[in-house]
Point group: C2
Chain length 206, copies 2
DNA sequence: GTCTATACGGGGATAGAC
DNA sequence: GTCTATCCCCGTATAGAC
């Protein structure tokens, strides 16, 4: 919002670094305490800065929240797309879907980030619109994989792919609510179990 | 906490009625605005009472929140058990599971209540423990149905039933995040679609 | 860029009248 | 049981020194 543009020679300004640190700190606080109780004062304390100074980098508390959401969805998107790419060009749609689900789950659990859980309702309309646009793009990744699978005849007919996608994302996103890192299962184990649930019903078994 | 016991002759005291009204109002506010921004003063205003008077019925804000959660999980439990009962004694485990899922989803969407979404983290330990015990009882309903189905050989072997249950509940609970009441699908349509996803993979198709 | 100081409102909670 | 009055804290945000 202020002087947080990169300088011509590609250097990162002090303002940029501080801004990035504030976003990181705020994200961590959201994870630990929920969107409630994450105040300017607390963010400032955790970032070892005075509360007033924050307003040099952000115009309001909501602006920080928006930045955190943006960074969260953006991070997930980046890792999911990368996982799909790593699956290789000769992978099937189903394999890519599995990779995408796995990446989504790993990210959600690692960052304990499920954007919707953090009260988006209270975001001003402008910010909310931007965020929902970002969410739609993220959802489109999975929607595309499912449609591709359907076109290639890999899915059992008769399903509403939108509903299947949203139920699936829900199942995975909700894992953050019950996952025990000290338990026996890794995030990938859970993603695999979920794929097994789909395979044989949604996915044609032949 | 105070005089909210029923009198010997079974009559409901004024205090009880007021307390119940406060819980109802608070629940509605939580639904509408999220757990953020639901203040004692707002609850008081919506209940047409003065803020100070609330402390006759509840000892703190958290106490109200706990009561709302209790009422929410209790309500869901009641309706799910009723749906199972209505499925009849000669119904299969799978039919009862379908009925239970449907009731869970209807309740979640109607009350826009998904307890976990409302920052439980910030509840004091005592209150949180009680709430999680209640959640476990609720989860046990579904766990029992799945185990029963497994015993009767209605499930395809090789699945971790705990994981299947938690993924399933997640898929359904998350529906509240994307459901559009003005859309074409009813809650039961969605529950049915989900059962179709399970049938043929988790449920043995024969 | 970051600090200090401060304005202002709204939060939870209590005391005592009625 | 409910009201009124009030305390004190902490929230967001701003102004101006450095």
């Amino acid at each position: 919002m202020q002087t947080d543009v990169q300088t011509a020679n590609g250097k990162v300004t002090k303002a940029e670094r501080t801004r990035a640190r504030l976003i990181e700190v705020a994200k961590r606080l959201y994870q630990e305490h929920g969107s409630d109780h994450v105040t300017i004062r607390r963010i400032a304390a955790a970032a070892k800065i005075e509360a007033g100074s924050i307003y040099y980098h952000f115009s309001s508390r909501d602006e920080i929240m928006r930045a955190v959401l943006e960074s969260g969805v953006g991070g997930a998107q980046h890792e999911v797309l990368q996982a799909i790419a790593e699956a290789g060009a000769d992978s099937s749609s189903i394999e890519r879907l599995r990779a995408a689900f796995g990446a989504h789950l790993r990210y959600t659990l690692r960052e304990h980030f499920s954007s919707r859980l953090k009260s988006i309702r209270r975001l001003p309309k402008r910010l909310r619109e931007h965020h929902m646009q970002q969410e739609r793009e993220y959802a489109a990744i999975f929607a595309d994989l499912l449609q591709e699978a359907q076109r290639k005849g890999l899915l059992r007919p008769g399903f509403d792919l939108s509903v299947v996608r949203m139920l699936s994302m829900g199942a995975l996103t909700w894992v953050a609510e019950w996952y025990d890192p000290k338990g026996a299962m890794t995030p990938d184990d859970i993603a695999d179990e979920f794929m097994r649930m789909l395979t044989g019903s949604v996915v044609r078994t032949k």
